[in-house]
């Protein structure tokens, strides 16, 4: 259209930040706070947004998404809370072990794939464990605009209940805590039945919890559009496999502990992405040929597309077999 259409680089826009606080909350979860290195204010964001944190780990660059959990009205800082995953691929371990106050890092502009439906007369939140983080920002946002909300938050134990004290102190009538080790369980069926018309439910937590809330709400007659969920999936490790990138004319090997997307990036190929967790659809890639079996783990493609063998989401999905050729 104009003289020189610029090709967009993959991922959201970047922000140069420094770490201003590292606050261990309990044995597993630590909060990291950032300020901009140029001294400017952060862009505003909406509750439910995440940022992708770039970690330079030796010669490897990790890009992990984390929900922004600070108050969206506070533009002086961004904060994330990271749960240490000892079995994972190492991103959270890197954050816990290596990131110190004063470190310089790069984070992306906020991206929101788990937005409040502002039409709702009431927002009903279900959090499991570290799934509390997006709700922290949503609650701050709704408090500022006198929004009607209620939180049901399941934690393993009192000791591992991140932000429980803060939430119950500030909002004693709106926050309900359930401790697994005390055999406290949500009476979900009754909770969903008692809600006024125009209520939206939101769930963030382990896969089982998300499925349970969707299924229970559906059985109680809730429209699917009124139940929103976010599950951040980290790519899972798997057996190494070889891939031919046809456009780039390169053959790469995806290592055991890296995702296909990361292997593509490591080969110097700019591939589109946003969430890196199987939900935004940006990294969708056409399969040219495949002799083997796909391990699809994304929420983006439907069952028919998964079965077709024509598409793959390289951020979370893998491949087992003889040969795979991609249009990238």
């Amino acid at each position: 259209m104009s003289t020189a259409p610029q090709k967009a680089k993959s991922g959201a826009e970047k922000l140069d930040v420094k770490v201003t606080a590292v606050v261990p909350l309990n044995e597993l979860v630590t909060r990291f706070e950032f300020q901009r290195r140029d001294g400017e204010l952060f862009p505003p964001f909406s509750g439910g947004a995440h940022t992708v944190v770039q970690m330079v780990d030796g010669d490897r660059t990790r890009l992990n998404p984390y929900s922004l959990m600070s108050d969206p009205a506070d533009r002086s800082r961004y904060a994330i809370s990271v749960r240490r995953d000892d079995e994972g691929r190492g991103g959270s371990l890197f954050m816990h072990r290596n990131v110190k106050v004063g470190d310089e890092m790069v984070v992306t502009y906020p991206v929101n794939l788990f937005s409040l439906d502002l039409r709702a007369k009431k927002h009903l939140f279900f959090a499991g464990g570290i799934g509390i983080t997006p709700f922290m920002a949503m609650i701050s946002q709704l408090e500022r605009t006198n929004g009607n909300w209620e939180l049901h938050y399941a934690c393993r134990s009192k000791a591992l209940g991140s932000y429980v004290d803060e939430l119950t102190y500030k909002y004693p009538n709106k926050v309900h805590i359930y401790y697994d080790d005390q055999k406290q369980a949500m009476d979900l069926k009754q909770l969903l039945e008692g809600q006024p018309l125009g209520t939206n439910a939101y769930v963030c937590g382990p896969k089982g919890m998300i499925k349970w809330v969707h299924a229970t709400a559906s059985a109680a007659g809730w429209p699917d559009a009124n139940v929103l969920s976010e599950e951040f999936m980290a790519p899972e490790p798997g057996a190494p496999f070889e891939v031919r990138l046809c456009q780039s004319d390169k053959t790469i090997t995806v290592g055991e502990n890296e995702s296909l997307l990361e292997a593509i990036e490591r080969a110097g190929v700019d591939a589109p992405y946003l969430c890196r967790g199987g939900s935004c659809g940006q990294c969708e890639t056409d399969v040219i040929s495949a002799d083997g079996e796909f391990v699809h783990r994304d929420h983006w493609l439907d069952d028919v597309e998964h079965a077709s063998g024509k598409k793959i989401m390289p951020c979370v999905s893998r491949f087992i077999g003889k040969s795979l050729e991609l249009d990238r």
Binding site: S2, P72, Y109, P110, S115, L118
Partner: protein, 355 residues
């Protein structure tokens, strides 16, 4: 640069005119000698100096007169600006992005002073100096969307994003190419585009929606669209079709050069940070055929595009009845020489018209 604002009208006596600068920077929309729909998006971050692509929200010599025309339209029909209740936050988002952009891009015309939530906004061309509380509607004379778009050229569709779709849930629409906010309010992306011919079959809207849903904060996008308008009329709305539709019959071979205008829309797309809504500003630029023909390349190309356009598109764009008269006029500016690629007129290198 200090802008001189035109004292001009877009109705009745139609005193609208483009200065030489306005003609030079007119966004001629055809990058080749033919036209078909495409998802012709690019990033919206600047462009050649003094072009309409340079700033986030272009302000030009028509600013004051366009805002006067908008006030007249709203006085007759307040439903041209509507915002469903859940879109108020998006209205504040838009107010913020426009005030911040204009005060940074045109510091001699606009000032924004922020002290916490107490904001002072100075708009020198319109003589406005208001202090208000951000996010408190009671401190503004209108809702945030209406307040700021009474001070910004172009139409603004504010789209809520839900269920993998976009919803026309708010807007300020007074300079539209024959569509109605009051009719489209609450519709989703496919519903409000339903009347467009050929593009659905080509899968254009499915791809365009996918692109728009993934537009992120800090990375706005833009494209051009175009149609034809008889007389320099901004408000070509269905509500007022009985007033302007008839004007299409007033074109004659003698007056077509001054009456017939190419109407180009610079459409841009911004993710709104606090609401996660999307704003879709549609900025209208008008240029008469006579003024367009002063650029040899544009003369040659416009003739070829209009000549070869499918009938469905000429009908949809509302000029099928006048197409032959347009071609009789335009053919005099097409000597058959090749044209250079791209939209710019390239006057230094493009050969002059062979007489």
């Amino acid at each position: 640069m200090t802008l001189q604002f035109n004292d001009e009208t877009f109705r009745d006596d139609y005193t609208f005119k483009n200065s030489q600068r306005a003609i030079d920077r007119f966004p001629f929309p055809f990058h080749e000698d033919s036209y078909m729909y495409s998802v012709n998006m690019e990033q919206h971050r600047g462009g050649p100096k003094d072009s309409i692509y340079e700033m986030r929200f272009d302000v030009d010599e028509h600013y004051v007169a366009e805002m006067r025309d908008r006030a007249l339209v709203l006085a007759d029909d307040p439903l041209r600006c509507q915002s469903l209740p859940h879109m108020t936050l998006a209205g504040w988002d838009l107010l913020e992005v426009i005030m911040v952009s204009k005060s940074e891009d045109y510091p001699d015309l606009f000032e924004l002073h922020r002290d916490g939530d107490t904001w002072r906004w100075v708009n020198k061309p319109l003589g406005i100096d208001d202090t208000f509380t951000f996010m408190d509607e009671t401190t503004l004379p209108y809702g945030p969307l209406e307040y700021i778009t009474r001070q910004a050229q172009g139409d603004f569709c504010v789209l809520d994003q839900r269920e993998e779709n976009l919803w026309m849930d708010a807007g300020m629409i007074t300079t539209q190419a024959d569509w109605s906010l009051d009719f489209d309010l609450g519709m989703n992306f496919f519903e409000w585009h339903a009347p467009v011919p050929l593009a659905h079959e080509k899968g254009i809207f499915t791809r365009a929606l996918k692109f728009l849903l993934s537009i992120q904060q800090g990375a706005p996008a833009r494209r051009l669209n175009w149609t034809m308008t008889v007389n320099p009329l901004l408000d070509t709305s269905p509500e007022n079709y009985h007033k302007w539709g008839i004007q299409k019959t007033s074109v004659t071979p003698e007056n077509i050069g001054t009456k017939q205008h190419l109407r180009v829309e610079l459409q841009s797309f911004f993710r709104l940070p606090r609401s996660n809504a999307l704003v879709f500003p549609i900025r209208c630029y008008l240029c008469s055929f006579d003024d367009l023909m002063t650029k040899a390349k544009w003369g040659r190309r416009l003739h070829r595009v209009i000549r070869d356009l499918p009938d469905e598109l000429a009908t949809y764009k509302g000029f099928i009845d006048n197409r032959q008269m347009m071609l009789d006029y335009l053919s005099k500016f097409d000597d058959g020489l090749p044209t250079s690629d791209g939209v710019f007129a390239n006057e230094d290198t493009e050969p002059a018209l062979k007489v």
